[in-house]
Point group: C2
Chain length 296, copies 2
């Protein structure tokens, strides 16, 4: 009944007898509950989302979070017996060949109340990865290419450290059909996946508007997922692409202050994505012009 | 000809034989050039603002920076002889009784390329002050009260560490005419100074829109000044209030990335200011309603 998720691009994986998440056929995702404060914190966050503060989160924002079905004892994948798991919506269950990018948002991943040891560890990672420079880091991604060649799935550790220029290239490949091995990915699905009222850019901006105002939560070390299915997107599928937020083990109270750390990183990501979108529009206009000339 | 500025709320002061800035009667502000990289960096920034990259900075944004008149040898206030000074516009020269707030923006004041020693020093200050929590810290302020009582000018070191609630109270006092010693400042000039097309909120949002897009500069340890003159504001003065950016010793290149650190902090400040503005509008509506009832 349970199996290892096929399209996990970041986080702990249930491979080689290690502890990791599993999925079932009904579209649910079972995430092992971390045994320390992190596990308690993540359950508390999901409960606060789906119960008492419900009315405080606008409906258009609620859809950015996975549906929460409670916790359940599930056989752990490391053979240690039944363990409590978070039961969540399997976010890519509806996508046949999902292209996915997992981006950890923020110029820092540590929170003010954390221990010195934890802060030192996070700060080191933040400085070694692109977190401090870009305001986010890529935790992993896969891009569907074709039935024959499958997915382009670059090394996780390498993508977390990429420079601004390299991140731009990866984002171009993320919305391309060809050119993964070259410096000229075709960006052929950029306008449909990124643009439009239901595209990724529009969703990221909706999320941003909420972050400019909400002072309930601070999301440390939390990721934004960007997902789409090329075939579905090209055939007018609805939604054409999805933006989701995941990983809430380090969510803290906002105490009347906006999450300026997350918001700054989100704005940085939006600028990157919007540049790729504009680049692709210009590129396709140029192609149209040159085709047009050819016809005359 | 030169004198110590009357209305300096933060930064080094030319008092007790120390080195600090001076002003003259023609509206110029002379800031001693720091002898190390910081001095060179600040001159380079002002030169880049006013010369070669000129066309890249939109006109509506240029007005947020002090006018730069070059550098000049001026007698240092610590008696060490003539020293190079930056010659800048004296920003409050046109204000008779200026209320001023100096706010250092950003969730961190250190830049990725800095030395370990510098980063450790800044990080400590950022964690001890409100920088990490609020995304900014108050470096100093003065609020004009009346000819008799002069200015309310709380201790600099204390205001830098204030909590979110305390910052809200200081911001209320900043736009009040009475109530500095109580928990009920009257916020009587809030709507005129903060609101409207030329008010502080509108200017901060204009600056924010630029920061969402510009990838030229990263402004570490830079301050936003908010200034107004109560009498001028109340008598329909133009401008009713001014927002300026100052202190560019640690400005670095953006390298194709937006300044997510500054932008996050600026958004946090905007949320605080807009909350005070809304609070004052609601407050004045309630007063009107209760006066109205009294008339009936």
């Amino acid at each position: 009944m349970f199996k290892v998720p096929e399209h996990q691009v970041a986080g702990h994986q249930a491979l080689k007898g290690r502890l990791g998440p599993v999925v079932d056929d009904s579209g649910r995702f079972y995430k092992p509950l971390q045994s320390d404060e992190r596990g308690k914190n993540e359950v508390a966050f999901y409960k606060s989302l789906s119960s008492k503060t419900e009315s405080l989160i606008p409906d258009n924002i609620r859809r950015f979070f996975p549906v929460f079905y409670g916790t359940e004892l599930v056989e752990a994948t490391d053979g240690s017996g039944p363990k409590p798991h978070l039961v969540l919506q399997n976010l890519n269950a509806g996508l046949k060949f999902p292209s996915i990018m997992d981006i950890k948002i923020g110029t820092r991943t540590w929170y003010p109340q954390a221990s010195e040891m934890y802060i030192t560890k996070c700060l080191k990672k933040d400085r070694e990865s692109s977190t401090v420079k870009l305001g986010f880091r890529l935790c992993g991604l896969q891009v569907y290419n074709s039935k024959e060649s499958g997915y382009w799935k670059p090394d996780r550790k390498a993508v977390a450290k990429l420079s601004a220029e390299d991140v731009k290239m990866v984002l171009r490949k993320f919305v391309s059909d060809e050119g993964f091995d070259s410096d000229h990915p075709d960006c052929s699905v950029a306008s449909i996946v990124l643009g439009g009222p239901n595209g990724i850019l529009s969703q990221l901006r909706e999320l941003k508007a909420w972050f400019e105002d909400q002072t309930m939560y601070h999301f440390y070390s939390c990721s934004v997922l960007m997902m789409y299915d090329k075939e579905k997107a090209l055939s007018g599928g609805d939604p054409v692409a999805e933006v989701k937020m995941i990983d809430f083990a380090h969510v803290g109270k906002g105490n009347g202050v906006i999450d300026h750390n997350f918001l700054g990183g989100l704005c940085s990501l939006i600028k990157f994505v919007s540049d790729i979108h504009e680049y692709s529009l210009k590129d396709s206009q140029e192609k149209q012009i040159s085709y047009g000339n050819g016809d005359i």
